[in-house]
């Protein structure tokens, strides 16, 4: 069970047309090397699930600029003008989802739940075409679970088995996405020996992690 691999080996899991989840919030807590490697190899036609589309020159924002994304499921595209342009030109499909719904959809995908029952989006365009449910006289939207073929995460400290600790606000979507993809690849700022992370403070248990890549930080 040797999980530490080269970027080259890690990239072999990512094929054109796949759905990828990328951890991060406006690029904070996102894997740099892995994203650059996808761009270098021009792996395209991807569906991206991420909180936002970051900035044009940063991290997964560059995937959009390089036209490698055919569809995005996200809560915000305002910091990357290229997203808006490609949406209006029809080059990229964009599904805008409230942030709290998005993270619960990913959690549901990882936790074996059939969907999310949320009040968020009621009475707005978010409810268009979606199933509603009434519970004790109150209306809610039913949002479907989200999963990906591959999740690309960024960890601050990762042990050889794959246990992850994140740093400060770089945690964000990472631990949730870790549960919701067939293959989970983490880019580690630091790789430590197994046993060096206190078992009480592991933020993503190693069983969710398939591949560890040493990051450039």
């Amino acid at each position: 069970m040797k999980k530490i691999k080269s970027v080259e080996e890690a990239l072999s899991y990512i094929k054109p047309g796949m759905t990828i989840m990328v951890g991060g919030f406006l690029g904070v807590g996102s894997p740099e090397l892995l994203i650059d490697a996808i761009i270098e190899r021009k792996i395209g036609d991807l569906t991206l699930i991420a909180n936002d589309t970051s900035f044009p020159d940063q991290n997964y924002g560059k995937l959009v600029v390089n036209k490698l994304i055919k569809k995005v499921i996200t809560s915000h595209i305002g910091t990357n003008p290229e997203s808006g342009l490609q949406m209006h030109s029809g080059e990229m499909e964009i599904i805008l989802t409230p942030q709290g719904t998005l993270v619960e959809q990913i959690r549901a995908g990882g936790a074996g739940l059939g969907g999310v029952i949320t009040p968020t989006g009621l009475g707005t365009v978010v409810e268009d075409g979606k199933q509603k449910i009434e519970i004790d006289g109150k209306s809610f939207l039913v949002e479907k679970p989200l999963r990906a073929d591959v999740a690309l995460l960024r960890g601050a400290k990762v042990d050889r088995k794959g246990n992850i600790c994140y740093d400060l606000a770089a945690r964000n979507f990472n631990p949730i996405m870790a549960m919701a993809a067939d293959i989970v690849i983490v880019e580690a700022d630091e790789i430590v020996e197994t046993g060096e992370i206190d078992p009480n403070f592991v933020m993503t248990p190693h069983i969710f992690v398939d591949v560890i890549v040493k990051g450039g930080k």
Binding site: F25, I77, L96, P98, T124, I176
Partner: protein
């Protein structure tokens, strides 16, 4: 009025709403300024939806930490007793009614408490980010904004832009006054002494109900 003065009036007034022990989320832009006016003897915890509570002021130049930013990607600091968590917990806090206040801007807000602040069809579609959850989940929703957008009216009888949430706004604070959403419509509770009621109404599509004990805002 000077635009900085306008922002100051609004931010200062919003800050008076908070009580000791409150948990508050301040939106990007004008609402962020509210933090500067919270009285020293009122302990307010600020939440940042990218995953922490206990947000502090901006760091000194050179002391920025790339992993310590607010939801608008600006470097911040944390106060003693801060705590970090993942986005699912962050939005459990937001949607679960644990936030006492969310303060955000608006493109439009109406007399029923409807809010539109996330898109202008055909023009600008940034996305809703966390706004829909914030407005749906917070105990009290305060819209903090300039009364008009360069003269064009924002406080409507009924919003014409796509909604962020339906009937969730509790209070609107502008440089002209403080309005509360009631069953009967918008109640003007405080006004800026520089404006007459008629002047404020002229910049407002919704018909303002004037509070019997109408007060003057501190300016």
């Amino acid at each position: 009025m000077d635009s900085n003065k306008v922002k100051e009036i609004i931010a200062k007034r919003v800050a008076k709403e908070f009580k000791d022990g409150n948990l508050v989320n301040l939106g990007i832009g004008l609402p962020t300024l509210v933090a500067n006016y919270i009285p020293k003897d009122v302990e307010v915890t600020l939440q940042s939806e990218n995953g922490f509570i206990g947000m502090g002021t901006a760091p000194l130049p050179g002391q920025e930490n790339p992993n310590l930013v607010n939801a608008g990607s600006q470097p911040v600091t944390i106060n003693e007793g801060a705590a970090f968590f993942d986005s699912s917990i962050s939005f459990s806090i937001i949607r679960g009614g644990h936030l006492d206040f969310t303060v955000l801007g608006a493109l439009q807000v109406d007399e029923k408490g409807n809010l539109a602040n996330w898109m202008i069809p055909g023009k600008k579609v940034p996305g809703m980010g966390g706004a829909m959850d914030l407005v749906t989940g917070a105990k009290k929703v305060i819209v903090a904004m300039t009364h008009t957008a360069k003269g064009s009216i924002k406080i409507m009888k009924e919003c014409t832009l796509p909604l962020t949430a339906k009937a969730q706004v509790d209070m609107i604070v502008t440089e002209m006054g403080v309005m509360v959403v009631t069953d009967k419509g918008l109640l003007l509770k405080e006004k800026n002494p520089l404006y007459s009621i008629e002047e404020i109404q002229a910049q407002t599509e919704a018909i303002l109900i004037i509070a019997e004990d109408l007060k003057e805002m501190e300016i």
